[in-house]
């Protein structure tokens, strides 16, 4: 039976990643990718239109300055509050053509740069695949981009200053470059000065035909203090001055007579100053084409006003809205090179008017359309996209593929009569095809592989069924009922978009109820005299404080919480650093005991508490202090740079010292110290366990101390990966674990508590199901060169620090690792003149300890623990996949449900496999030594 159980459990767990993979490939369908650089090809209508072969409309510009200001939301340039007065004057005089450029989610820099250079629409899956791929293949060096085209044209040269994302994406592309990394968001000035100082010099250089600048300061201000920060308008003025500087060079220097300046944001920001998701603020960056030649377009139009109020499309809708990747074919036309092959952008209509001859405009548009048609053709291989007239029934197209084929056929037919019908009719059908194709290819809603979605969901359901079969429920127990209700309700709530955004409310609500249930449950056995201080009530109390720590979710974003309160911001951070210091002291104390035990004489140490004499304790402290104090100093030095407002109260002398610490080696020292300590403690415990086995004495079994040591070392690591403001939470967590250990719960209840606290603590640390809430500040600790897998691991570890903590804490509770053993001799009991009840009480204590000691080595206990956790992961996946499947045409599918699916993937793969199964098995194993 046990064997069948184990097989079922293994199968249930294997099905988790398999179902995720299958579902993901159906949900984020394969997009055809065209390798190689595009070249000018024959259009096919040369003869009928009496065009010259290979005639390409003359380029309007020969040089481009591409100025990206990170997170430059539309209102920062166009709105009434904007500080960019010079840009306003350019717009009014008709030298600048303003747009709101719609950016698709994920609104983070790397995929946005990809969209703005290749013209493709990177999806969430691209982001993950980029992450999973090795460093070289995720670059755009081999892809068709306007940079590659510019470089290929007349052996052009490129220069780049600013965000080093560009250098990672385009290695060895630039003639001259100076990258700045977006390491500390507290840096508002240095990152930008580092770009600006190159501007005058490069404006005087003749050799380049493309200059990319990427300013990070404005994004940093947003992350730090939001869009309304007092630093925001001065920063806009600073950016405005740079535009002015470039404009003056364009006006006065003949060599810049044909230079185009493009000012744009890669994405916007939400009210909190973060980005990643699809809130209107995040997806609405500004886009401005600047050149004196724009007068030519504007002369037929009423002049634009600037600054202005937003339009009818919402508070970030200014002027005309285009898609962000429309930049790519437009630049191809303006600068005179073929449209990059994977482009899904559409030539921005107004800019076509730079060409006087309608035939030139038509050629540009046709090239754009033929290039997009190739992608459409590859996506819908069964449809007909030939360039000759066909018999087609286009009265009511059955699918989007048919619709696109019909729209292409329209172009073919109109082109055959263009000489009579006029160019305008052709423009209309070509744009109709292009916009439909862009829409179809970017939403991908029509491209879901529904059978894969069904298969993935069914496999997740199978996994759930297998683990439920293993649970072998015969009787309804309280934790069982609670567990089942939690699963059921969670599953229902995953279909409500607002509960996906506010998932923390569910876990806080359920965990509070569970703690109260524990209070009732324990009161049924015996009444705790001072019931207010009952461990379960204390748990409830601690949870309530922790809930207040970070405000998370969408609905109440920005509501008051402890992290943003005067408690930490005021008083120069004294309270914060006292609490952080206390957390590190507690860790020091715990780790010193492990070290003390490791150096104690094993003969005497076996049965004594921690086997430590005072001398050993002192030695243990001396042994561990260098590690914990290095970790503390690292945290201080990191915070001084990352969030200087939190270290205001630290004396300048110490701060001066701390500011000179090199962070990367310091972090490596901490990680190395933790690894070394773990190795040392493990080897000592291994030797001790061999000795114990040799002696064969009764009661000489290990106490599972190594599991506790691993937990404590892991805690130190997790604290290192946590922002300073959140570190005091670990004190609360520690107290929670303490009160839980007093409650002395049976195994199933421990598992349920573990499950609830792992989920709850994820949100307690300020996370949510929004991509923009992912905290990247600790993802580069100890990493000097760009190593995607290391960064990815640290992103996971720092965002899932709370869940990892409670996962291990749950195992320690389950096995009562490190608990002191009481050996009460039975005969001794009889002799003493104790009251009967006291004797019974003691006997029951001993029995419970014996039971727990057996539990520690029992893999069956661990398996049952894991079975419940697997059942939860399985049901969560069923719910999330089911919601994505059922609601795949829902308005919120890309903003709410698909990010939730990505979080579910992280929970299912990295969390469940990496932590619950991998790390958990390791800890359980060493706990049994």
């Amino acid at each position: 039976m046990a064997r069948a159980d184990a097989i079922r459990l293994a199968l249930a767990n294997l099905l988790i990643p398999i179902s995720i993979l299958i579902f993901a490939t159906g949900f984020f369908p394969y997009k055809p990718f065209m390798p190689g650089l595009a070249t000018y090809e024959e259009l096919g209508w040369e003869d009928s239109m009496k065009w010259e072969k290979d005639a390409v409309p003359e380029a309007q510009f020969d040089r481009i300055v591409f100025m990206v200001v990170d997170a430059l939301r539309s209102d920062f340039v166009f709105g009434k509050e904007s500080g960019m007065e010079f840009v306003h004057s350019l717009i009014i005089q008709g030298s600048a053509l303003p747009f709101t450029a719609h950016a698709t989610s994920p609104t983070i820099t790397m995929p946005r740069v990809k969209a703005m250079t290749t013209g493709s629409i990177p999806s969430f899956l691209d982001v993950i695949l980029n992450f999973a791929e090795s460093d070289t293949s995720s670059t755009l060096a081999t892809q068709d981009t306007w940079l590659a085209q510019l470089k290929a044209k007349n052996e052009g040269k490129l220069v780049m200053y600013g965000d080093d994302t560009w250098l990672k994406l385009f290695p060895d592309f630039f003639e001259r470059a100076d990258g700045t990394s977006s390491f500390f968001v507290s840096d508002f000035t240095e990152v930008d000065n580092n770009v600006t100082r190159h501007v005058p010099e490069e404006l005087a250089n003749r050799d380049w035909n493309g200059m990319v600048m990427h300013y990070l300061g404005l994004d940093h201000i947003g992350h730090k203090a939001g869009p309304l920060s007092p630093n925001m308008v001065p920063k806009q003025r600073e950016m405005d001055d740079i535009v002015k500087q470039i404009w003056l060079a364009m006006e006065n220097d003949r060599m810049h007579a044909n230079t185009l300046l493009v000012l744009c944001g890669d994405h916007g920001m939400n009210e909190g100053g973060n980005h990643g998701g699809s809130a209107p603020g995040e997806t609405s960056p500004a886009l401005v084409f600047i050149s004196r030649k724009m007068h030519k377009i504007m002369k037929d139009w009423t002049p634009f006003q600037s600054p202005i109020e937003p339009g009818s499309g919402g508070e970030f809708d200014y002027y005309r809205t285009v898609e962000q990747n429309d930049i790519v074919p437009t630049l191809a036309g303006l600068l005179g090179f073929p449209v990059p092959r994977n482009n899904l952008g559409v030539f921005v209509p107004y800019l076509l008017n730079l060409w006087d001859d309608p035939m030139d405009r038509m050629k540009l548009l046709l090239r754009n359309a033929k290039q997009v048609k190739k992608i459409v053709e590859a996506t819908f291989p069964s449809k007909c996209f030939v360039d000759t007239e066909q018999e087609m029934d286009c009265t009511s197209p059955k699918s989007v593929g048919d619709d696109l084929a019909c729209k292409w056929q329209n172009i073919v037919q109109v082109m055959s009569i263009t000489e009579k019908a006029g160019a305008e009719a052709a423009f209309e059908v070509i744009y109709n095809f292009l916009y439909t194709a862009q829409d179809v290819m970017s939403t991908t809603a029509s491209n879901y592989n529904v059978s894969r979605l069904f298969l993935g969901t069914s496999l997740a359901f199978l996994s759930l069924a297998l683990s439920f079969r293993n649970l072998a429920i015969h009787t309804i127990s309280l934790p069982g009922l609670f567990f089942a209700l939690t699963l059921l309700l969670y599953g229902i709530l995953m279909f409500a978009s607002s509960y996906v955004e506010e998932e923390h409310h569910f876990w806080y609500w359920a965990t509070s109820a569970w703690f109260f249930t524990l209070f009732i449950s324990s009161s049924r056995k015996s009444w705790f005299r001072k019931f207010i201080f009952h461990p379960a009530i204390m748990l409830l109390f601690l949870l309530r404080i922790a809930r207040r720590w970070n405000q998370t979710g969408q609905k109440y974003a920005g509501a008051p919480d402890i992290v943003h309160s005067q408690i930490f911001k005021g008083g120069d951070g004294f309270l914060l650093w006292t609490l952080v210091g206390a957390t590190y002291m507690d860790l020091t104390n715990r780790l010193s005991r492990h070290v003390a035990r490791s150096i104690a004489d094993p003969e005497t140490a076996v049965s004594e508490e921690y086997g430590s004499t005072d001398a050993n304790r002192v030695l243990g402290l001396i042994g561990v202090l260098p590690l914990t104090s290095t970790a503390f100093i690292f945290k201080l030095a990191f915070t001084a740079r990352d969030a200087p407002e939190l270290t205001k109260g630290i004396t300048s002398g110490l701060l001066g010292f701390v500011n000179h610490i090199a962070l990367v080696p310091n972090a490596r020292l901490v990680f190395g110290g933790i690894a070394l300590s773990a190795a040392w403690l493990a080897s000592v415990e291994w030797i001790a366990s061999r000795r114990r086995k040799g002696s064969g004495k009764r009661g000489a079994e290990g106490k599972g101390d190594l599991a506790v040591a691993v937990f404590d070392l892991m805690s130190l690591f997790l604290v290192t990966q946590t922002r300073a403001q959140n570190i005091p939470l670990y004190l609360l967590f520690r107290m929670m674990v303490f009160f839980l250990s007093i409650l002395d719960l049976p195994p199933t209840q421990i598992t349920l508590t573990t499950l609830l606290l792992t989920q709850t603590s994820f949100f307690l640390l300020g996370n949510s199901n929004a991509i923009s809430s992912i905290d990247l500040s600790n993802s580069y600790n100890g990493i000097s060169d760009y190593n995607i897998s290391a960064v990815g691991t640290l992103v996971f570890l720092s965002n899932w620090a709370g869940p990892i903590y409670f996962s291990l804490a749950g195992l320690i509770l389950l096995g009562s690792h490190g608990r002191i053993l009481r050996h009460v001799a039975e005969d001794e009991l009889e002799q003493r003149d104790w009251v009967k009840e006291e004797r019974e009480h003691l006997r029951s204590l001993v029995e419970s300890e014996e039971r727990v000691r057996g539990r520690r080595r029992d893999w069956g206990v661990w398996r049952r623990h894991v079975t419940l956790l697997t059942a939860f992961v399985g049901s969560a996946l069923v719910a999330v996949m089911g919601a994505c499947l059922v609601l795949r045409t829902h308005l919120f599918i890309w903003t709410v449900f698909s990010p939730k699916f990505l979080f579910a993937v992280a929970w299912g793969v990295a969390w469940h496999w990496g932590v619950s199964l991998g790390l958990g098995a390791g800890v359980w194993w060493v706990g049994g030594w």
Binding site: S498, E501, W509, R544
Partner: protein, 239 residues
């Protein structure tokens, strides 16, 4: 665990039966309908401005509850529930079953106790479960008062202030009857009432503490009905 001293064996608690006269039997079914009607009548103004409306509703609710216990329930120590021996040396004298006047006084005492003792405890519990800490103090306090009048008042009336019984109440050890069922229903209803708050329906009634109070009222009616009929005499099992 450091726990209470061993207790002397006591007679097991039995469920409370309502008084056996016809008025009691009839009114016990009318009462929840009256309570719900009162709440439904006040609902609009509670949504509009919770604090004054909840405050104004307290008095009629108290009157209804006092009427209910006086008409339908045996006061503490009256011995109607056979076998209940809660009397201890020095405990206050039994209230002999008789005229309505002999019931109004314990009913008022129950009101005072639930208002002064149970309300603060329930309000603190609400905060522990996530009620706002820094704002909405009166909202939460009034929410606690409503829950207290619904759940605690009848319980105090039938069980008095005996510590042991109240421990059994908290530990869910008493057999279910319509009074105990009403209390459990009220508390569960208030807890479930938190579920709609985070939804993005943008309705006025989603604001604190309307859903909680609504849940409590509905829970009271359901719990009282189920406790008095379907589950009567059953004990809650935990393991």
């Amino acid at each position: 665990m450091s726990t209470a001293a061993p207790t002397k064996p006591r007679a097991p608690a039995t469920p409370i039966d309502i008084l056996s006269n016809d008025t009691a039997k009839l009114y016990t079914h009318i009462h929840p309908a009256l309570v719900l009607s009162l709440y439904a009548y006040q609902f609009r103004s509670i949504v509009a401005d919770p604090v004054p409306a909840l405050l104004n509703t307290l008095l009629p609710l108290a009157a209804l509850q006092i009427g209910y216990v006086a008409v339908c329930l045996p006061p503490t120590g009256s011995g109607t529930a056979a076998g209940v021996e809660k009397k201890r040396p020095g405990e206050k004298k039994k209230v002999v079953e008789g005229g309505i006047g002999g019931k109004i006084i314990p009913a008022f005492l129950s009101l005072v106790l639930s208002a002064l003792v149970a309300t603060p405890i329930l309000t603190a519990t609400l905060v522990l479960f996530g009620a706002p800490v820094t704002t909405h103090h009166f909202h939460t306090l009034l929410c606690g008062a409503h829950i207290s009048l619904l759940s605690t008042l009848p319980l105090v009336y039938v069980h008095g202030v005996d510590g042991h019984t109240w421990r059994e109440v908290v530990a869910l050890l008493l057999p279910i009857d319509e009074v105990y069922g009403g209390m459990i229903g009220t508390v569960m209803g208030a807890w479930l009432g938190a579920v709609p708050i985070p939804l993005d329906w943008d309705r006025e009634w989603q604001k604190w503490p309307v859903t909680i109070v609504t849940g409590a009222y509905i829970g009271f009616a359901v719990g009282k009905l189920v406790g008095g009929t379907l589950l009567k005499g059953k004990k809650i099992m935990f393991e």
